[in-house]
Amino acid sequence: MKLAHTLDHAKWTFTTRRVERSRIAGSDRDFSAARSGDLILAHVEKLGQHLRVQLPCGRPSLIFPGDAVVLACGARYAPDQFEGLAEISAEGADLLAGGGCIGRMVARNERIKPATRLMPAARLLDKAGRTINLADFALRPRPSRSRPPVIAVVGTSMNSGKTLATAQLVLGLRRAGYRVAALKATGTGAFGDYNEYSDSGAHFVGDFTDAGMVSTYLQPLSRIKAGIATLLDAADEATCDIAVMEVADGIFQRETAALVADPWFGHLISGLIFACGDAVAAAGGVAHLAQFRLRPNALTGLVSCSPMASAEASAATGVPVLRKSDLADPAEAAGFALRARARLERAA
């Protein structure tokens, strides 16, 4: 009764959005056994970098010492903020991401504050005594015969312009008359990208959390690929014509690097956009991707803000540079879909 009361008044975070709360029947304090995705009730101990958590309804909520929050145990890789592991100590833990990721911080960008500290209170269990995990509420794999073509968006790093490019291309494709899925293949659960995709009018929005993962950092590649496949099947079920899929962080990041290098990825995608900050990064990225027989159809990101940098990047790579307004232009966006459809037809 006391647990239920606490949970009713706790701030449930965005990563727990798919959880059926009625399934929670008990708890334990075996935090050392917590694994990625397990649901944790914790109390805010000391505010640090994060002053807010993200709620399932899509708004941020201020948090205060003493507040009860429900989050998922997970790792995080964010060069602009933290690196953290899916480890929790009964003595305390870190709020690794405001979307609802609790774990142990192991590295921090020196420009930001220490992580907000949390005091774990309970690991949540079902009536059979099993740990409640986000994977229990994931979209069910429904293998589809006709997955939509995929335009992948990768970049040099966090904050290189991938999310903006994804959202703007979604907008352009929707304007051109396509039913569009916006997907986030990797990263750590948060509503920022999710909301931006939705605001652009995507007909289906899904991320790795919908596939059962709070974060993809340190997850096996096979699980990440299965998650992408599940999201694409869901996009097909939502009768989407095409999917735009953002892959988090830079192409040297552990999971992104593995995904990009996997021939499965090359077969999966029908188009590729590379977001970067300058011409040198563009040249390096295009050369790196070429090792895996991947060639971007377009460059975008911060480089596209400067006509001079764009000209340099285009000259160095032979790949056109598109601004966000270009991606949102239905005439440009339709080209991605038409090219993708043609590629699928040739493959068939």
């Binding site: 008359g177 005439a331 440009e332 080209g335 038409l338 459809r341």
Partner: protein
Amino acid sequence: MKDASILPDNDHVRTERITVCCAAGRLSAEILYPDWRVESPPLLVLHGISRNADTLARYFASQAQRTGRCVIVPHFNKQDWPVFQRPTKTARPDQALLELLNYLATRDPDLAGPVDIFGHSGGAQLAHRAAMLYPHRVSALHLAAAGWYCLPDRSMPYPYGLAAGKGVQDLKWVNRHAIGLETFLRLPLTLYIGTHDTERDDSLRQVPMLDAGQGLTRLARAHCYLSAFKTAACAAGIAPCAKLIELPGCVHDVVEAITRYDLATLVMDSSPDKMFL
């Protein structure tokens, strides 16, 4: 032959006027709903530089009722759309048309699929360029008496063809028009031209490159376009579904083409399975 002064009885057609807004500007249109429906695509009717959308709507209303097909007649007014014949950096009639179709699709699932497009003169110019950019939104293309064309090959620089022009903007537009070219070349295409549409009037673009590349008159340019379309399709391994219908004695006048030569009937009755007849 029909009397041009007698307009058809449109009592059974419900007419709705709508206006859509998008980044490109505002566009109004009349939507003609017959009191019965078939599953065939709606027809989008694009006026020329006389901007006679109302007249076209009245003539196509009877066709809507006869065939059970919805007809959509946008009006690019002069104030908002000084240029509407082709997409440019500053004028995007294509975006406004998309917004119109998207809006209709959200309201009526019967209007959600690809549409047949008919355009006369400047409207035919917009029609074929829009179809090149968005072939997935088009089920058939009917081009009447366009002044000139964007040839689906690299024989002429953009905007007359798909060879690279001088500017960066031109290259962007070339790429946009070229990416969906194979899909475009699979569309059923019917060209209509009056055999007397040979006057080199002020509204006909007359530049040496165009005269040399597409011909001196609308009649010659229509034949040139048909040939280029077929050749491009064959080169892409596509059996072209394209034909040209000459209207004997007809000049550059859409009302005459409709009232004396049944142009609206020809357009509405055309279907892909009849294209090779």
